[in-house]
Assembly symmetry: C2
Homo-oligomer: 654 residues x 2
C-alpha cells in the first residue's frame, strides 16, 4: 500500500455508476493535504476554494514588497527545485479514435491511481483543462471516467481557475486593438496619430511608453525623445498600415457557437463602413492557449505574447501585438493563468491541470511548466504521466516534435491506448456515431474484425517507437470485450514492436485495474536504450517538414492550394521557416479523410491553407477543411445539466 | 482608534502619488484576518488566493455528502444570520459627473475607512466589480483613488474571482442555443425534432429532462411520458418557432470592441444562408449581470435565469431560456458567481465586491446579496455603505425604485458626491474632456461659476430626499479648490435641503480626511423621520412609470418612437407591465442630451426603443442613442500596462 497520506481506498460497485455519481460519492481531501504530500509549502501555492490550488511558476507580486521571504510571498517552485533531478516522463497517446473516445484521459488517470495508490510511487498526472464548449455540447466533460477521474468533477469541467477565460479576454483585447487601430489610422494624419500616441504631459513633454521602445527597436530607431523623430520616423512608428486582408487573428469564445464561424463586423454607423469578414474560433484554438502550453516562464510568456503576429502591413511586414502596444497588457491578463492548477484523482493522487488546446486544430498537449514542475516534485524514481490529444499521429507527434523540442524534456515511455471497439471500426466495422446506439458488431465477439483493424494500432506503434521511446499499449477493456478479442490486440501490439501490451480495467476498478500497466510502464522507463529522435530537423524548409509528417501519416505526397503556397512563401520570406510544424488535421484518420479508417496509404495530403503562430512558435497548416469552431447538436448536454438549489449539487454533468 | 484587529495606519505623502504606487505600498493582510474580524469562520468562505475570498450565499455542494457540518461544508451566511438585526444602510450617489468622474468610489471607500479606522464602527463597503473593458480603454481601474482604495488594486480590476467571465460564458451559451435551435428547427420535421429532443434509451424508452417539464407546464401539458404526446402537443413542445426579428438577446464580451456593435452572423457555408444581423454588448450590460445583482438566493437565481425572455415565437409568445432547455446550465455556470468577494481597503476595513452593471445602460448597483450579508455582519450600530452608479438621477433612482423594491431593504442616508470641478461645468464652464488638459477656469477660483452650477446639485438633492432618506453632500476636495468655492457648495447644499454637507479630503488623507463626513452620516442615519417612498407604484402602466421618471429629470413630456410604442404594447399584452423601469440614459445630463448641463427642464424625453429584462425583473427603455458597447481610443490605457517579470508586479494600471 502507498506511503502517501492522501491516498484513499475506493469501494467499487458493478455495474459502474454514472461518472458524476462516482465523482460525487467521494469526499475529496483539502487540496493543501495533496500539496503537503508533494512537499509543497503554503508559500508555493494559492488556494482557489478547498479543492483547487495554483502552483506558483513565477514569484508572486507581493515578493517585491519585502526582502525576507514569508508566507505572503509566492515562490517559484521551478526556481526552487532547479537543482533537483527529474522523475520518469510518460506520455499517453492513442490509436485513431471513434467519435466516442477510447478512454485516453481515463487511462492516464487510472495509471496514476495505480502507480500512486498501489505501487507506492510518487506520481503526478498532467492533464489539459477541458473546453466548456463540448461540456455543454456533445462530448460532455473530460475528467476521465468510471473509477478513474479527476475530482471535484464539476469544478474541473467548469471555469476551473479561470485560465481559459483569461485567454479569451486576452485574445479578444488584441482583436479589438487591431480593428480599432486600423480605424483610427484611416481617419488621422501621421501627426495627429503621433500626438495621440505620445501626448504631451502637463509640462508639454512627450514620452514613449515601454512597449513603444520595442517597436522603435524593431524599426531601428534608437531615439528616446518623441520630439526628435523625423516626419519619416513618425510615419514609420505611428502608422502600422495593417492590410485588413492579411489579418489571421480571430476572436474567440469558449462556446460551441457555429453561427460565429463566418461573420461580418463593423456594420455600425460609427464605424463608417469599415466592414470586414472574420470569424470566431473556440478559445482553446487561440494562439494564446498555445503560448500558455509552450511557455517556460513569465518572462518567456511576455516575449511570446508580444511577438504574436496578427497579420501584415500593406508592404508585407509582420505586425505584432507589441507593435499594437498591447503585449504587456496581454501578459497582465495571463499572469495568473501561467500557474498550473493542482487537483486530485478519485484515489487521492495529485493532478496538475494546465492549458488545453485541441490536438486536431492545435498542438493538443498540456503545459510544459506543469510537466516540468511535476518532474521535479516526483523526483528520481517517480512518474509524471502527461496526456497528448487524440491519436498518436497528431497528439504524440506534436508532443515530440513541438513540445519536447521547446522543453528539452525526454520521455522514456509512450503509452498508446487501444480499444477493441475502435479496432473493430478500423477493421471495417460499421460507422460509430455519437448519440446513436452501437451496432451489434461492437457488442459481440468478432476476433477477425479486431485483427483486421490492428493495422491502425501497428502504425501508431511504429511511428511512436521511432522517437526512441518504449511503447506500451494499454488495452482499455470494455465489459463487452471477450478474452479472445483482447488477446488478439495484445499479440498484434507485441508483433508491431510494442515493449509491452497490457489489458486494463481501471474504468471498472480504478487504480487496481491498472496495476499491471503500471508495472509495465515502470519496466519500460527503466529500460530505455535510445536517445530521443525527432521526426524532422528544424532547418528543413516548411514544405520538407510538412512532407516528413505527411509521410508518417502514410501519404504518398502533399498537394498545396494556391493560398497555402502563397503563405509558405510569405512566412519563409519573413524568416519563420525554422519553426516546427503543427498540423491541423482530423483525428479520425491518418489521412485528411475522416472516413478512411485502418492504415490508409498512397493518398495525397491536401494543404488548404497555412497559418503561423509566431508567439507560440510553430507553422500551422490546415489539412483539408478543419472547423475551428464546433457546433451544438439539437439536444445539447445542457438539457441535463442543472443544480440542486438546496444543496448546491450539480446534476447531469457527464 | 478602532478596536478592529486588521485596521492599519496609513503614512500619507504629499503630493499624492499614483494610485497603483499607493496601492502597492501597502501590504494587505491575509483575507482570513479580515473575515475573522467580521466574525466569519472558515466554513463561511472559500479563499481565492491570499487577498480574496468568496462569502457563501448558498450552501456549497459538499454539504449534501454529510449530515454533520464541518469545515468542508460551506454554510450560507444569509441563512445563519437570518435572525440577527441589520446595521445602517447608506447609499452613495453623485451629481451629474464630468467625463473624469467626481470620486464616487473614492468617497465610498474613504467614508468606510473613516468609520472603521477612526470612528470605531463596524463597517462594510459594498462596491461593484469593474468591467475590464474600460480598465484597458480610457477610464482605467475603479478601485477608488489616492489614499482611499480597495486592494490589491490589480486583482480588483482584473478577473477578480471570475464572476464577469461566468456571466459572459452563460450569456453566450444562451445566444448559441438560440441560433442553433432556429437552425435545427428549420431543417427538421416535428417528429425528427422530437426524436432528437427525447431520444429513446437502450430499452427504447423516452423521457423528458427536468427542464423540459418547465416548458410542458407552460404549455399546459401535464403528461410525463413523451410517447403520450399527441402530434399537436409534439409540435407545441418541440417547435419554439422563434421569430428571428424579435430576438433581443445579444452576445457579450468584457472588452471595448466597437467593431462588434453591429455584425452579421451565420455566413458560413454550413449555416445554409441563415444569416442574421445582431450585435455584441459589453458583458456588464448582460441581463445575467442584472440577475446576479438583483437575485436573493441560488433558488431565486435559477428561476430568474430560466425565465429570461430572448424574443418571441412567430405567434408572439415570449420564448425563455428554459424553453431552450438551458436555464439549469446557466445556473451551473453562475453557481460560484453568486458568492460576493471579500477584499480590503488601504486601511484594512472589509469590502464586498459583487456584480457591476453600468448605471447608464443597466441598473448600476452592486448586489442585493452582498448588501444583505453586509448588513447582518455589521449588525445594529454598524454601517454598510453601498455605491450606486453615476448621477443620482440614474444610479440612486434605480437603487430606490428597483433594488430596494426587490430587496425590501431601507436606506437611512443617501450621500451625494459633489466636486467644485463638476459644478463649474454645470455653471457654464468649458467642456471637460478625458485625456485633454483642464481649462484654466477649473484651476483658478471662480465662485460665481460654482454657484451657477449648484442648480444641478440642488435637483439631485431634492430628488433623492423625496425617497424619505436624509441626504448628506460629500464635497470631494481637489487641491485646486479654494475655501470660498467649497463654502459656496456647502451653503447651496444646505439651502437645497441637504441634512448636512461636508468638505472631505479622503483622496489626500484616507479615512482621516472623511471623519467629519462619517460623523454627519451617523447623525443622518440616527435621525430618519420618514419611511421609504418610491417614485412610482408598480401598478401604473409602463408609460406612466416612464413619465414619472422623466418628470424627475425635469422633462415636460415623453416622446415614443414607433418601435418603442410597439414594444410597450407587446410587453403590456404579455403581462410584463407590472415591472419597475430601468432607464438607459446618458449619465452626463438630467436630459437625453449630454451637452445639457445644470438642471435642464421643459425638454421632451425621447424613448427610442423599449426592451425587457424579464429574468432580472425590469422594463428597459432606451433614451435617445445609448451605446451598449464602448470603444477604444487611439492610445488605450493598455499602452502603459505591463508586468515586471522578475517580481510579477503589475505596472501602469490606473
Amino acid at each position: 500500500m502507498s506511503s502517501s497520506t492522501t491516498v484513499r481506498k475506493l469501494e467499487v460497485v458493478s455495474p459502474v455508476p454514472a461518472d458524476i455519481d462516482i465523482a460525487n460519492s467521494v469526499e475529496p481531501v483539502h487540496i493543501s493535504e495533496i500539496a503537503k504530500d508533494l512537499n509543497l509549502s503554503p508559500n508555493h501555492y494559492d488556494l482557489y476554494g478547498k479543492y483547487k490550488a495554483k502552483i506558483s511558476v513565477s514569484c508572486h507580486y507581493s515578493v517585491w514588497l519585502k526582502t525576507d521571504l514569508d508566507a505572503q510571498v509566492l515562490l517559484s517552485v521551478l526556481d526552487e527545485l532547479q537543482g533537483s533531478q527529474d522523475g520518469y516522463y510518460v506520455v499517453v497517446g492513442g490509436i485513431t479514435p471513434t467519435p466516442l473516445g477510447e478512454g485516453k484521459s481515463t487511462t492516464t488517470v487510472g495509471l496514476c491511481q495505480a502507480l500512486g495508490a498501489f505501487l507506492d510511487k510518487k506520481v503526478v498526472t498532467c492533464v489539459r483543462q477541458p473546453s466548456q464548449g463540448p461540456t455543454f455540447g456533445i462530448k460532455g466533460g473530460a475528467a476521465g471516467g468510471g473509477y478513474s477521474q479527476v475530482i471535484p468533477m464539476d469544478e474541473f469541467n467548469l471555469h476551473l481557475t479561470g485560465d481559459i477565460h483569461a485567454i479569451t479576454a486576452a485574445n479578444n483585447l488584441l482583436a479589438a486593438a487591431i480593428d480599432t487601430r486600423i480605424f483610427h489610422e484611416s481617419t488621422q494624419s501621421d501627426k495627429a496619430l503621433f500626438n495621440r500616441l505620445c501626448p504631451p504631459n502637463k509640462e508639454g513633454k512627450r514620452s514613449f511608453s515601454d512597449v513603444m521602445f520595442r517597436r522603435l527597436k524593431k524599426l531601428g530607431i534608437s531615439k528616446t525623445n518623441p520630439d526628435d523623430l523625423t516626419p519619416e520616423e513618425v510615419n514609420k512608428f505611428a502608422r502600422l498600415d495593417i492590410d485588413p486582408n492579411s489579418i489571421t487573428w480571430r476572436r474567440v469564445m469558449d462556446i460551441n457557437d457555429r453561427f460565429l464561424r463566418k461573420i461580418t463586423i463593423g456594420q455600425g454607423p460609427d464605424e463608417k463602413g469599415m466592414v470586414r469578414e472574420t470569424a470566431f474560433d473556440i478559445s482553446v484554438a487561440s494562439e494564446i492557449m498555445a503560448v500558455l502550453a509552450l511557455t517556460t516562464s513569465l518572462a518567456d510568456m511576455r516575449e511570446r505574447l508580444g511577438k504574436m503576429v496578427i497579420g501584415n502591413s500593406k508592404s508585407g511586414d509582420p505586425v505584432t501585438a507589441d507593435d499594437l502596444g498591447v503585449g504587456g497588457a496581454l501578459t497582465v491578463l495571463m499572469k495568473d493563468a501561467i500557474h498550473p492548477t493542482l487537483m486530485q484523482t478519485l484515489e487521492g493522487t495529485p493532478v496538475l491541470v494546465h492549458a488545453g488546446p485541441f490536438a486536431n486544430i492545435a498542438h493538443g498537449n498540456s503545459s510544459i511548466v506543469a510537466d516540468k514542475i511535476a518532474l521535479k516534485l516526483v523526483g528520481p524514481g517517480g512518474f509524471v504521466v502527461t496526456e497528448a490529444g487524440f491519436g498518436a499521429d497528431i497528439g504524440a507527434e506534436k508532443f515530440m516534435n513541438i513540445k519536447c523540442r521547446y522543453s528539452g524534456l525526454t520521455p522514456q515511455c509512450a503509452i498508446i491506448v487501444a480499444t477493441v471497439r475502435a479496432l473493430k471500426m478500423h477493421g471495417g466495422g460499421p460507422a460509430v456515431v455519437a448519440g446513436k446506439p452501437l451496432d451489434h458488431a461492437y457488442l459481440t465477439e468478432n476476433v477477425a474484425l479486431v485483427e483486421a483493424g490492428c493495422v491502425n494500432m501497428a502504425r501508431h506503434i511504429s511511428n511512436t517507437k521511432s522517437y526512441g521511446v518504449n511503447v506500451v499499449v494499454a488495452i482499455n477493456k470494455f465489459s463487452t470485450d471477450t478474452e479472445a478479442e483482447l488477446n488478439a490486440v495484445r499479440s498484434a501490439a507485441l508483433a508491431a514492436g510494442a515493449y509491452d501490451a497490457v489489458i486494463c480495467s481501471h474504468h471498472a476498478h480504478g487504480g487496481k485495474g491498472a496495476v499491471d500497466l503500471g508495472i509495465a510502464v515502470q519496466k519500460a522507463c527503466e529500460n530505455v536504450t535510445q536517445p530521443l529522435k525527432f521526426l524532422y530537423p528544424l532547418d528543413l524548409s516548411i514544405k520538407e517538414k510538412i512532407e516528413a509528417i505527411a509521410k508518417s501519416y502514410g501519404a504518398s505526397g502533399v498537394e498545396y492550394s494556391e493560398q497555402a503556397e502563397k503563405q509558405i512563401e510569405m512566412y519563409s520570406k519573413q524568416g519563420f521557416s525554422g519553426l516546427p510544424i503543427c498540423m491541423a488535421k482530423t483525428q479520425y484518420s491518418f489521412s485528411d479523410n475522416a472516413a478512411a479508417k485502418g492504415a490508409p496509404s498512397g493518398f495525397v495530403l491536401p494543404i488548404r491553407d497555412v497559418r503561423a503562430s509566431i508567439g507560440a512558435g510553430f507553422i500551422y497548416p490546415l489539412v483539408g477543411t478543419m472547423s475551428t469552431m464546433p457546433g451544438l447538436p439539437t439536444r445539447p448536454c445542457f438539457y441535463d445539466i442543472d443544480i440542486d438549489t438546496t444543496t448546491g449539487k450539480v446534476t447531469g454533468l457527464s
